[in-house]
Every structure is written in C-alpha cells, then in structure tokens.
Amino acid sequence: AQSVAQPEDQVNVAEGNPLTVKCTYSVSGNPYLFWYVQYPNRGLQFLLKYITGDNLVKGSYGFEAEFNKSQTSFHLKKPSALVSDSALYFCATYKWEYSTLTFGKGTMLLVSP
C-alpha cells in the first residue's frame, strides 16, 4: 500500500528563518508526490509536485521540496519564513496504478513575528 508520513504535528519557526516540514513516503516504484496547504477556513491549495526529473522542485509562494529516493523523503522547505505562511500543510502521494490520492495527517506550521 502507498502511504506518506508527516512525523511532526506542529512546526514552530520565527519569521525570517528557514523552515522545513518533513514528509516520508512508502510507495513501491516511482511515486508522484505532492504538497498542499490549507489556510484557515479555506480549502486545500496545491503547492508543488514531484513526478520525475530534478529532485528539487519549486512551487508556489517561494516553497520548494527535495525528493530524496535513498531516504524516501520529500521535505518541504522555504529559505525565509513569513507569518503568512502559517497554515496546515499536507504531503500526499499518488500512484498511477492506484486510484486514490493519499494524504499525510498534516503538519501545522506556526511562524512567529
């Protein structure tokens, strides 16, 4: 079965500091990996995806993620956090042969001024 894990319920970072939100995956073969963000009282928004190619993927709002096959990880990163980045972040995986988009349980990112 395909799955992703987000080991941290919450990440706290000060504005201006780099941030990392962790995600590991368990998928046989080559996975499709995604990051979504959910701002308060809003739906989920797509941030970025890895399908194939460069291991470093750049997405919306200055976020990027690094696909690491040996560590089966797809951590979300941003060089300099903003207070407005505070939100709930979900990692997800999708495999062509399967029907469902499987999400992690989410990580709350809190950026303090």
């Binding site: 989920l44 995806k49 062509w96 469902t100």
Partner: protein, 115 residues
C-alpha cells in the same frame, strides 16, 4: 466553472436526518474525490470516481454513506441517518488525472454539524 464548487458551505442537521452534499468539479476533469476532515484529523478518503469506471468506495465508513456522479460531472454525497460522529468538513476535489497534470483541485468544503 473556474474552480471546484461545493454546496452548501455549512449544514446543521439533527441526528437521524439525511443530508446531501453537492460537488461541481472543474469542467473536463475526469477524476473526482470525496474526503472527510474531522477536527484535528487528517484527510480521510471516502470515495473516488474516474470517468465511467465503477467508483472506488473503499473509504466509505459505513453503509449510511453513498455517493453518485451523474453524467461524469456533478457528484452528490449522501449521508443517511446522520450521527454526531459524522460532523466534519467534507471536501471534494477533481483532477484531470493524466500523465501531464495529476494535481487535484479542492473545493472550499461543506462543514457538516450534526446536533
């Protein structure tokens, strides 16, 4: 439409009543998903439709839950004899689900409160 539309945005219902939640996906998207997000919980997969194929109902929590998708477009999620534990935000998403574009686009959700 420009995005995935869900209605109603909020629904309060009495325990034991039936409810219907509607999802209007992005035009041309063949894949449609329903998820449930409970307070403090992640996203729980409910059901998946892809084109004219039989839906994947493996995530439906009980036989009180059902969904249909008419004409490959609009979908309705029905919960019969609602229980308090059904209270959650129900999210719908659609995607093209092809080799080029696989990301899903989500609606704003329907917040269901069973009292």
């Amino acid at each position: 439409g420009a995005g995935v539309s869900q209605s109603p945005s909020n629904k309060v219902t009495e325990k034991g009543k039936d409810v219907e939640l509607r999802c209007d996906p992005i035009s041309g998207h063949t894949a449609l998903y329903w998820y449930r997000q409970s307070l403090g919980q992640g996203l729980e997969f409910l059901i998946y439709f892809q084109g004219n194929s039989a839906p994947d109902k493996s995530g439906l929590p009980s036989d009180r839950f059902s969904a249909e998708r008419t004409g490959g477009s609009v979908s309705t999620l029905t919960i019969q004899r609602t229980q308090q534990e059904d209270s959650a935000v129900y999210l719908c998403a659609s995607s093209r689900r092809d080799r080029v574009s696989t990301e899903a686009f989500f609606g704003q959700g329907t917040r269901l409160t069973v009292v």
